[in-house]
């Protein structure tokens, strides 16, 4: 049996109050349980996508690293690094959030792979491998952005699921049993008091009747 709430007075007013709290706790428990289930359903949808995107991104990235190493072998590491410093910036990404059951899930949009201007290096001093490396890395970057969106979403939803689960469990295993135990305690106290009252009344009545009888007897004797 769970503990009762500390410092509660066994009165009818308290009983009414605690019954109300119990009804609220049970309603909250039901709602949070539904929220948890909905989040988990959404979660499974996203997780299914994640593995495929991750694998594709890792393959793209591995190819990009391969091209980079070849380019470095052909025209020298330093030269590649210099050219890299002078590359045009990728377009900005737009970020926003969508709301899934009160969770803000990130959405990354815009074309990261849109470039304002052409690369600033000469074709004579470089190799085609460098172009390949650039193309491969741009492709990998697209995958990375898509993956970032998915993993960011997983992250947010997972945190929320944990939070909701904790709340559901606390309600289910601590608050509701405690409220139930308190209601029972007050009910028993009140019943006990009623029985005491009843007995006291009976007893007083009996005493009074006995007193009245002896008075009558005395009066008769006199």
């Amino acid at each position: 049996m769970a503990d009762i709430i500390e410092g509660v007075k066994p009165t009818r007013m308290e009983l009414l109050g605690i019954r109300k709290r119990r009804a609220l706790a049970e309603k909250g428990h039901k709602l949070l349980g539904e929220k948890r289930d909905a989040l988990v359903t959404n979660f499974f949808d996203i997780i299914g996508k994640r593995d495929a995107i991750r694998e594709k991104m890792e393959n793209d990235l591995a190819r990009a690293y391969g091209s980079l190493i070849e380019a470095q072998m052909l025209i020298g590491e330093e030269r590649v690094a210099d050219i890299a410093l002078d590359m045009p910036a990728a377009g900005d990404i737009t970020v926003s959030t969508i709301n899934i059951m009160g969770v803000r899930v990130p959405q990354l949009g815009g074309e990261a792979a849109e470039y304002a201007k052409k690369a600033a290096y000469g074709f004579t001093a470089t190799s085609a491998k460098l172009d390949e490396a650039i193309r491969d890395f741009r492709k990998a970057l697209e995958g990375i952005i898509r993956l970032a969106e998915v993993e960011g979403g997983i992250q947010r939803i997972a945190v929320e699921i944990e939070k909701t689960k904790r709340r559901v469990n606390a309600l289910e295993h601590i608050f509701i049993p405690r409220l139930k135990a308190t209601v029972k305690y007050i009910e028993m106290q009140l019943e006990e008091r009623e029985r005491e009252d009843f007995f006291r009344r009976k007893r007083i009545k009996a005493l009074m009747e006995a007193g009245a009888k002896s008075d009558a007897a005395k009066a008769a004797n006199a």
């Binding site: 299914g48 890792e58 050219i83 890299a84 590359m87 990728a90 990404i93 970057l141 970032a148 699921i161």
Partner: protein, 120 residues
């Protein structure tokens, strides 16, 4: 918003080639400071970090991810490929959230059965 990258030299060179201008070479030493600097910049929407560096500042990353939606932090393998035997932080998170591991696409029905069992 902008994309930023934190990694070893090769990764940063590659990312710069792809147009990620905010790329920074970091060793294990200055990694935490560099990371803090990037997260403090409100104009950055995505931080790309190599797995190897991410593992050295795991607690900072986890904490940041727990409290913030943006910037999204994404861990990528470096030139050597994914570190073998490494626990994937996202997979770890999934495991903690739903109590099961290895949710492959297509196996959903079976998995949700498991989930029900776990709950009851």
């Amino acid at each position: 918003m902008k994309i930023a990258c934190l990694g070893d030299e090769n990764t940063v060179t590659g990312m710069r080639l792809a147009g990620v201008v905010n790329s920074k070479v970091a060793g294990e030493g200055g990694c935490r400071e560099a990371f803090m600097e990037l997260t403090g910049d409100a104009g950055i929407g995505v931080i790309i970090i190599t797995e190897r560096l991410a593992d050295t500042i795991r607690s900072d990353i986890d904490k940041w991810r727990h409290d913030h939606t943006f910037p999204v932090i994404i861990e990528i393998p470096d030139k050597g490929g994914p570190i073998p035997g490494r626990t994937d932080p996202i997979r770890d998170l999934i495991k903690r959230a739903v109590g099961i591991e290895n949710i492959a696409a297509g196996g959903r029905d079976r998995k949700s059965e498991n989930y029900q069992k776990e709950e009851s």
